[in-house]
C-alpha cells in the first residue's frame, strides 16, 4: 500500500508526535497532497483521526464520530495533468469517443 493510501491506523499519530509536529509546522500544512490529487489527513491531535470513504470522510475520536462532507480534495479532478495528457494524446482514445458521438447522432436520426 502506498504511504498516502487511506488507513485509519496509519493516519493516527502516536502519542506526543502530533503535538510535536503541530509546533513545528503551520496548521495549513497538515494536509499534504497525494500523487493522484487526493489529499491525506496528517492528524492534528492524538485522539482525533480521519477515515476515508469513497465519497465522504468520518472524523472520529475515542468518544465521538462526525461525518465530514465533502472531504478535502473532493472537488479536485482525480487525474493528474500528465495522466490526462497521456489519455488525450492516446490515438486509441479517440476511436471509441468518435464512435460514441456517431452513435448519439444516429440515435437522434432514428428517433
Amino acid at each position: 500500500m502506498r504511504p498516502w493510501a487511506p488507513s485509519s491506523r496509519s493516519l493516527r499519530p502516536r502519542r506526543g508526535e502530533a503535538r510535536k509536529a503541530k509546533r513545528q509546522r503551520p496548521a495549513s500544512r497538515t494536509m499534504s497532497t497525494a500523487p493522484c490529487g487526493w489529499r491525506k489527513f496528517a492528524g492534528t491531535t492524538a485522539t482525533s483521526s480521519l477515515t476515508w470513504f469513497p465519497l465522504c470522510a468520518v472524523r472520529h475520536s475515542r468518544f465521538s464520530a462526525r461525518l465530514v462532507w465533502p472531504p478535502s480534495g473532493f472537488w479536485r479532478f482525480p487525474l493528474r495533468r500528465s495522466t490526462a495528457k497521456a489519455i488525450l494524446t492516446d490515438g486509441h482514445f479517440w476511436i471509441p469517443l468518435s464512435v460514441l458521438v456517431l452513435g448519439v447522432l444516429l440515435l437522434i436520426y432514428v428517433h
Binding site: M1, A5, R80, T83, H92, L100, G103, V104, L107, V110
Partner: protein, 422 residues
C-alpha cells in the same frame, strides 16, 4: 502457477459461462409483452446491474482492493465511463431497431459486434498476429459461424417482419450502429486488462457511465424525470424480476470480462455470443414460444444451434501461439510506457497473479454495509413483487437455473483456483 494453456481454457470456460448467464438475463425482457416501455425495462435492469456491480466486487475483493486498483490506474476510470456510455447508447439503439425492423432482422445485424471486436483486437492490440494462419482461420471461421447460426435462429423465430416500410433504413442503421458501438466497447475492456486492472474494479466504474447514460436517455425519450418516476412506480410489482435479470446479466458480463482478459476480445466475445442459444432455450422450453412453429422452422433452429456450437468449438481450440503472445506483450509494454505503469506487475496480473491482493487485507465495515443494503433492496423488491402473468414451465426453469448455477460454481471455482479472481 497457471500455464498459458490453462489460462486459455479458463478464458474459454468464462466465455461459455458468460453466454449462459447473459442468455438467462434475457428472460425478464419477456415482460415487454406485458406492455412495459422498453426504456423502463432497460433502466430498471441497469439499476439492478448497478447494485450488483457494486456488491459483487465488494463481496469478492472488498472496497479497499477496488479503490487501490482504481487509484493505481486512474486513467482507466475515463475509459470505463466511456465504455459504459457506449453500452447505454447501443442498448437504446437496439430498442429502435427492434421497433423498426423486428428482432429477426435486427439481431443478426447487431450480432456482428463480435466481428468488430475481432477487428479492433487485431488492429489495436495485435491479437491474431504472427504466422498463425491456422489459429486465425479457427477464430474467424468460428466467429463467422456464431454470427451465421444466430442469423438462422433469428430468422426462424421471426413472428413478424417489423414496422412500416419507410422505417426500414433507420432500423437497419440502428442495428448496425448498435453492433459497431458494442464491438468498439471492447477497446476499453482490452485496454484495462492489458494494463493489469482487475475486471471487478473496471466494472464498478463502467456501471457509472452505463447508468448515467441509460438514465439520461430514459429521461429524454420518456419526456422528463416525472414521467420516468411515474412509470417506475407503476411497474413496482415487476421491478424485482427486472432487478434479478440485471443481477444475472452482471454475472454473465463479469465472466465475459474475464474471458476478454485471458483469451482476448477476438476469442472471448464470439464465445459469449453463444448467449443466443441460451435465450432460445428459455424461449422454447420455459415460455413454449416454439410450439407453434412448423417443421421447416424447427429444422432451421436445430441447424442454427449446431452451427453456433461448431463455431464455439473452433474458437475454443484456437490457443494463442508463442508469436501471438509475444505480440501481446509488446502491446502491454506500450501501455505501461504511456501511462507510467510497472511492466512486471502488469505482466504478472495478465498471467493470473494478484499483486494487489498481497498489499490489501480484509474488509472494512462499510463493505458489509454495502452488501446488507443491496440485499435489503432485493428483499424489499421481492416483497412487492407479484408473479408475472406469463405461462412458464417450472420444471424447465429449474433445469436451466441448475445449469447456470453449475457454470457459476464451476467457473467461479476455476477463477479462484487459478487467479484468485484477479
Amino acid at each position: 502457477m497457471p500455464t498459458a494453456r490453462s489460462l486459455h481454457m479458463l478464458g474459454v470456460v468464462c466465455g461459455l459461462a458468460a453466454g449462459a448467464w447473459l442468455g438467462g438475463a434475457e428472460a425478464p425482457t419477456k415482460l415487454v409483452t406485458l406492455g412495459l416501455s422498453p426504456f423502463l425495462i432497460s433502466l430498471c435492469m441497469v439499476s439492478g446491474v448497478f447494485v450488483a456491480r457494486w456488491t459483487l466486487p465488494v463481496v469478492l475483493k472488498g472496497t479497499s482492493y477496488v479503490f487501490l486498483d482504481l487509484r493505481e490506474r486512474a486513467h482507466l476510470m475515463v475509459w470505463a465511463i466511456l465504455a459504459g456510455a457506449l453500452w447505454g447508447v447501443a442498448n437504446t439503439l437496439t430498442v429502435f431497431a427492434i421497433r423498426d425492423v423486428g428482432l429477426s432482422v435486427a439481431f443478426p445485424l447487431w450480432n456482428t459486434n463480435s466481428l468488430v471486436g475481432i477487428f479492433w483486437g487485431w488492429f489495436l492490440f495485435r491479437e491474431l498476429r504472427g504466422r498463425v494462419w491456422k489459429t486465425t482461420a479457427k477464430v474467424l471461421g468460428g466467429a463467422g459461424a456464431v454470427v451465421f447460426g444466430a442469423t438462422l435462429l433469428g430468422l426462424a423465430s421471426a413472428h413478424r417482419a417489423g414496422g412500416a416500410p419507410h422505417r426500414l433504413v433507420p432500423g437497419i442503421l440502428a442495428a448496425l450502429g448498435a453492433g459497431l458501438l458494442w464491438g468498439t466497447m471492447y477497446i476499453p475492456y482490452r485496454k484495462a486488462y492489458l494494463s493489469g486492472m482487475n475486471p471487478l474494479s473496471f466494472v464498478t466504474v463502467f456501471t457509472v457511465g452505463e447508468l448515467a447514460t441509460t438514465g439520461a436517455l430514459a429521461v429524454v425519450f420518456l419526456g422528463g424525470i416525472r414521467p420516468v418516476l411515474g412509470t417506475v412506480a407503476a411497474a413496482r410489482p415487476v421491478l424485482f424480476w427486472l432487478f434479478l435479470g440485471g443481477f444475472c446479466w452482471v454475472l454473465g458480463d463479469l465472466f465475459q470480462q474475464y474471458a476478454a482478459k485471458y483469451i482476448g476480445i477476438g476469442r472471448g466475445i464470439p464465445l459469449s455470443n453463444t448467449n443466443q442459444l441460451w435465450g432460445l432455450a428459455w424461449a422454447a422450453l420455459v415460455f413454449g414460444e416454439l410450439s407453434s412453429f412448423g417443421k421447416p422452422a424447427q429444422a432451421q433452429i436445430i441447424m442454427g444451434s449446431l452451427i453456433i456450437i461448431a463455431g464455439a468449438v473452433a474458437i475454443s481450440s484456437a490457443v494463442a501461439p508463442e508469436s501471438e503472445q509475444a505480440a501481446v506483450r509488446e502491446v502491454m509494454a506500450r501501455e505501461c510506457d504511456r501511462y507510467g505503469l510497472d511492466l512486471e506487475v502488469t505482466a504478472s496480473a495478465q498471467l493470473g497473479k494478484d499483486p494487489l491482493g498481497m498489499v490489501t487485507h480484509g474488509r472494512r465495515w462499510w463493505d458489509y454495509l454495502i452488501v446488507a443494503l443491496a440485499t435489503d433492496a432485493f428483499v424489499w423488491l421481492a416483497r412487492c413483487a407479484t408473479h408475472p402473468p406469463l405461462a412458464m414451465a417450472a420444471t424447465w426453469i429449474a433445469a436451466l437455473v441448475l445449469a447456470m448455477l453449475a457454470f457459476l460454481v464451476g467457473c467461479g471455482w476455476l477463477l479462484w483456483k487459478y487467479t484468485r479472481f484477479s
